[in-house]
Amino acid sequence: MLQLRGNTSMEREVADRNNREGMMGWLNPRRYGWERVSYWLQRLTGVGLLAYFIAHIYETSQIAGGPALWEAFLELTQTTLGHIILIVVIGMCVFHSANGIRLIFAHGGKGLGKPGRPDYPYDAVSLNYRQKSGIWIALILALVAMLYGASVLFGGE
């Protein structure tokens, strides 16, 4: 763990959260550009998927209770609201996965470009259009998947 050097007053300040943006900093994700949107969505969808996954494990466990319980449970989930939730989950899953693949590469510096001599007006190479279009593609894929999911869930009946 990082040790902060210095006098005790500084160590006290380390604990001090005075003026940190905190979770409020997550609001207004458009403020700093697309990469920040991606950060925010990746997080949101990650947590959302985890929640769904837990619920899904619970849902499938009903199978062990026999056909009656299973049918009863299906009744609960196979509703319009249930379908909408499932569509959102599909979108989350596709966005999180597609963007996740981009991030796995980007986190290791792949596809970000090379450092060079700074040149006014300093455009950051890491915020290049390859990365931005990666985010857009993930969003578009998620949308397409949601539409397809909707067509299966609502159209199949």
């Binding site: 050097r5 001599r117 700074p118 040149d119 006014y120 007006p121």
Partner: protein
């Protein structure tokens, strides 16, 4: 008194510019058990040194035709023979080591294709001798030194502590008093040895390349402690400051091949310095520019100020981006001009103080245990006119020398007491005299009037009449009822700091003016229209100014050290 905190360290360094940081490293390396305090009124890496752009002079390539003797000669000739020649020699001989040491500490020097350190042309030199790192030399040097300081746990940084006075007894240094800006607490620093690296005072001019923090409070502190300020009338005006802000276009721009042009499109430097053209020393180029403007060959900037233009459009765009990226940015941002496509409007601008705290060749002041280095010091390397790129060199060389000497001194001799009377007097001076003072005049208005007046009357050319009227004005401002601080809070009170700075500015401006009046000749950066020639018979000597209380300074003279070159007429 009992409630005033005392902080004790072995070596106190006032100022965290290039000189201060270099001193800290060399002091810390002497003995890891010594504790070094670096006290600065700004945070580290915010000192004015980060703005230095063009280069640092050193002889690196003797095998390619350079030699140290030439560097010594260029420096002395550039100084209009007012430099102490042994000091110039020490500078030149120490520099190559420092360049390589900086390289070893991580300095991103610009390189040649073969991987060796690159150098470029600079004004007044007979060989391309300015070692550079793009056009941000000072910045990178500061970063390298600051980062290297992180190696030493015995260096303690006191960021944003404003020093107000030097404590001393029997002409021996004991420490300083300071105000911690964050809390507003008045504090005593006790130290066996001290080094003043408080930088230049260029903010006594309005049109100035200096950072806003470059006010003479460090010089003034030494002055009030009874130390002499030397050669203060020599103020360097750099030929190329942009309008309206005064931000600098480095001499490197001319070193890379830029031209100065007048409104007829002529390269007018052909008239004034046919041998060196734009790369004549700064005093020569600045005077030529003012003459050109006086002859009606200038441009008018949209703010109605006369100016000339610096033309870089004939350089290749990629070369500009490679070597002058920073000033291209400055041009676009602060002047609305892209130097790749258009000439940029420039005008001579206050840039450097040759003068400073009087020291000997080792940087020692007249007080035992106290040294001075960097722009705050005047060890007489630069005489009447500094060559570009020689100042960062000076900061580094004397930073190292004084750091070592001060640390050695501090191991031998420990200070055991503090002059309490002085502490109380100082507390009274700043709190009763300034903080709780009453007045109707806005101190910021006083500061503005002073600096505008300096711009007008103590600029590139001076004369008796204007200097006298300027002196009268300074004395009038000194007497005005302005000493008060509106902001009564303790915490981060920049109003209070500004008032203390203004107080020191008035005193320092007075010294500059008195010195300029006394020097009835033209030498280096000091050009008198009423005495247009150099007068070696009467004025081949340094000016010293001593504090006398509320009256003006007491002026004396001090001899110049000659070791090798007799003065001859200076031609470029």
């Amino acid at each position: 008194m009992a409630d005033i905190t005392t902080i004790a360290h072995d070596v106190l360094i006032i100022g965290s510019g290039l000189a201060g940081l270099r001193a800290a490293i060399s002091a810390a390396a002497v003995d890891r058990k010594l504790t070094i305090a670096v006290i600065s009124k700004v945070q580290v890496m915010r000192s004015h040194s980060v703005s230095a752009e063009g280069g640092t002079a050193a002889v690196l390539y003797e095998e390619e035709g350079d030699n140290q003797e030439a560097h010594i000669y260029d420096t002395i000739k550039g100084s209009d023979y007012l430099a102490d020649q042994d000091v110039a020699e020490l500078l030149v001989k120490s520099m190559p080591y420092e360049i390589y040491q900086l390289d070893h500490w991580g300095m991103p020097w610009s390189r040649r294709k073969d991987g060796r350190i690159a150098q470029r042309k600079f004004g007044g030199y007979s060989f391309p001798r300015a070692t550079f790192a793009q056009d941000k030399v000072g910045f990178y040097e500061m970063q390298t030194l600051y980062d290297t300081c992180q190696k030493y746990d015995n260096i303690h940084f006191y960021n944003e502590w404003f020093c107000t006075s030097i404590l001393h007894e029997n002409n021996t240094f004991q420490g300083v008093t300071a105000i911690e800006m964050k809390t507003g607490n008045f504090t005593i620093f006790k130290g066996s040895a001290g080094i003043i690296c408080a930088g230049g005072a260029g903010r006594i001019y309005s049109f100035s390349t200096y950072a806003f923090s470059s006010t003479p409070d460090g010089l003034d502190m030494a002055y009030r402690a009874g130390l002499a300020l030397k050669d203060m009338e020599f103020v360097q005006f750099h030929p190329t400051g942009i309008l309206p802000s005064g931000i600098l276009i480095t001499e490197g721009a001319r070193g890379e091949g830029g031209y100065l042009i007048n409104n007829k499109g002529e390269r007018f430097m052909q008239k004034y310095a046919p041998g060196k053209l734009e790369l004549a020393p700064r005093d020569v180029v600045s005077r030529s520019m003012i003459r050109e403007i006086q002859e009606g060959n200038g441009f008018k900037h949209e703010t109605d100020v006369d100016c000339l233009k610096l033309d870089l459009t004939h350089l290749r765009a990629d070369r500009i981006k490679e070597a002058l990226a920073g000033i291209r940015e400055i041009g676009i941002k602060f002047s609305g001009t892209d130097i790749i496509h258009e000439p940029i409007e420039v005008r001579p601008v206050c840039h450097y103080m040759m003068g400073g705290i009087h020291t000997n060749i080792d940087g020692a002041t007249e007080m035992a245990g106290l040294w001075a280095a960097g722009e705050a010091a005047c060890n007489s390397t630069h005489g009447a006119n500094r060559l570009g790129a020689n100042s960062t060199s000076e900061c580094i060389v004397w930073g190292k020398i004084t750091g070592e000497l001060a640390a050695r001194y501090a191991t031998r001799k420990k200070v055991d007491s503090i002059n309490r009377k002085q502490v109380l007097e100082e507390e009274k001076r700043i709190y009763d005299g300034l903080f709780r003072g009453r007045g109707a005049v806005n101190p910021y208005e006083v500061r503005k009037q002073l600096t505008d007046m300096m711009d007008e009357k103590a600029y590139v050319f001076r004369n008796e009449q204007e200097l006298t009227s300027a002196l009268e004005k300074v004395r009038e401002l000194k007497g005005a009822m302005w000493k008060h601080v509106e902001d009564k809070a303790k915490e981060y009170n920049t109003n209070f700091i500004n008032v203390m700075e203004t107080d020191s500015m008035l005193r320092t401006a007075e010294i500059v003016l008195v010195g300029a009046l006394n020097r009835r000749e033209s030498r280096g950066a000091h050009a008198r229209t009423d005495y247009p020639y150099r007068d070696d018979a009467n004025f081949l000597k340094h000016t010293l100014a001593y504090f006398t209380g509320n009256g003006g300074p007491k002026m004396t003279w001090y001899p110049v050290a000659f070791t090798r070159y007799a003065p001859v007429e200076r031609k470029y």
